[in-house]
Structure formats: structure tokens, C-alpha cells
Symmetry: C2
Subunit: 201 residues, 2 copies
Amino acid sequence: MPRAVAGPEIERLIQLLARLPGLGPRSARRAALHLIKKRETLMQPLAAAFDDALGKIVTCRVCGNIDVRDPCTVCTDAEREVGTLIVVADVSDLWALERAGTIRAKYHVLGGVLSPLDGIGPDDLNLSGLVQRVHQDEVREVILALGATVDAQTTAHYITDLLRGRDVAVTRLAHGVPVGGELDYLDEGTLSAAMRARTPL
Amino acid sequence: MPRAVAGPEIERLIQLLARLPGLGPRSARRAALHLIKKRETLMQPLAAAFDDALGKIVTCRVCGNIDVRDPCTVCTDAEREVGTLIVVADVSDLWALERAGTIRAKYHVLGGVLSPLDGIGPDDLNLSGLVQRVHQDEVREVILALGATVDAQTTAHYITDLLRGRDVAVTRLAHGVPVGGELDYLDEGTLSAAMRARTPL
């Protein structure tokens, strides 16, 4: 926003909104104006939702999920298989897998992946909690749902080593052609992985 | 967000964020997670900015601008020309013109444009205020900065008629080739307007 067309309060609102992922300076202005125009129907409820979240949201001490209770809704869900643990890097991955809805197991959120370049080592991830859960909860399968980047794969290998010797199967998500994907647009790595992991029809 | 991975508070936060312009369901989830992770450095300041805005922001009774004071910062700015009034449809247009920074005049925000199809008639716009200001404030020029849609042009003609007979020049923004624009990509209407309004070099 330009200088001197309104008080600093509106400028500050725009600056804060611009820090949300997906909003740039221009869309933050549009969002701010939208919020100001819909003060009663949008800004007020959102302010209340923020206050609610600020007062209530906690990180689950068992799995690292974000929720308003600890242990979280997933950890206390009696209908989920207890023998299977899905390891994800981030809460957003947990949400994504739940949207897919293939499997109703419990999760373990690492809080990132190993990344030597960014200075993220094993101590920065929730790994001791994972080993402890595998030990205590009689987990039979650990599914590593960690993406296909170099850092994610390094993390997957590290966890596999960590769990070696324990009576637990460690699996990872399949690599291959994404549903709806055209071969033409896929990189060589994906195509090679899909070819190697080809399945009988 | 899927069912039963967290309390309804997070779901509600996502739903409200998804109502911001520029954010869809997916980016609203990302924004919610970002806000939750940055509770202290982003969500808390944003909640405070909302409370601040909710308590303070008002519509200027003189020009229709949005600000924390009434009359607004623009109307009380002594360095702006008083003889020129720029008529805009929306506060966002006022902001856009101030960013361009070509002219330091006062504004008049109509709150929309005439739109028979949407049921927006002259009584729904801040037109009586405009006539009154032209009369009282010794305005010499009214610049109609109203866009080039059919509705905006209808509104421009309506205002021109309204101010006819008064000692005031009514002008509108030039139509033409946008700066950086390629002729190839421009529509016929813009090209015709630019050709008709050609200027000597």
C-alpha cells in the first residue's frame, strides 16, 4: 500500500497477510481489503478462530500431530490399526494421506527430514520417539511415507538402519507413474523406478 | 482436511481462510498449518492486527476511503490539491492510483459502478456525496478513473450528465496500449481506442 492513504494499522495487516504461503504483496492487499469489507462476517470469525487456536492447539506428545488435544485425535482413535505406524515428515503429509484415506493406521510425524546442508541432523527429528513407540506398541510394520527427494530417501535409509534387528517390517511408498500422468512429461528417474517396479496385469 | 485427524477448531480455521481471495481449499490448508506452526510470530500478531482493525477501521464519511480515522488520511492531507477530485469505484482503485503516484489529489469512492444486471442503481452509489463535494469544495476538475468495462463507462456517462451545467471539467483516464504491452496480444477495442487517441511524437 502507498504511503499516507490510511493509518499504519492497515499497512501492518497487509504485511502480516503477505507472510502467508500463497499470498504475495498484491494478493495480500486484496485479502486485507476483503477482510476489512467483510469485517463482521469474515474478519471477526477469523479473529475468534485465531484466539481459539492460540489457546488450544498443541503438538501431540505421542506422534507429533497438531491438534487441540494431547494425545491427539488420531492417537486416541480406537478404530485405527495399532500394529502399523506411518512415518511422515510433516503434519501436512499426515493430512494428505488421510485425505487419500487408503489406510487407517497411526502416524509418527518426524518434523522434517535429515538435511546436512540445512544443518538438520538426527537429533532435530523425532526419531527417539519413533524407536520407543516401535518397541512399546508392538508395531509390526513401519511405513515410510517420506517423499522421493534425496533428503527424504536418506532419512528413510537412516530409519531403516535404526530399526534393523527389531521385529518390524519397514516398507516405503511405491515409486511410479502418478495417476493421470503422461509418460511424456515424466522425468527419467520416475520412469526408471516405474519400470523396475513393474507389476503383472 | 480429512475427518478425525484433529479437532473442529482447525477445520474451522481452514474453512475461514479458504474464503480469502486468492486462497483455495488446498492453499488454505497450507496457510492454516503455517499459521499454527508460527503461532507466536505470525498468528498472534495477525490476531492482534485483526482486533486492532476491528476496533478502529471506519469508512470515511467524506470520500468513502477506508481508514482508522474519519475524515481519512487522504481527506485531511494538506499537501493534496483541493481543486481536483479523482472518482474511483473502489478503495482498491484508490490504492492502485496512489501506488502509481502520478497525482496528489483527493478522491471520491463510489462503492461500485452502475450495473443494471446486478441491480446496482444510482442510489446504491455514493453519488449525492460527489455532487455535494463538487459544489462545496470548489472542485475545478473531476477525473473519472473508472476502468473500461461497459458498466464503468455507463457510470462515467451518468456522472458526466450529473455534473453538466456546473463549472467543473470532467475528464477520464486515457485508453490505449498498456506500457509493456504487445500489439499482437491486445484486443481490437483497445487498439481502436489507442489509434483514435494517437498523439504526436
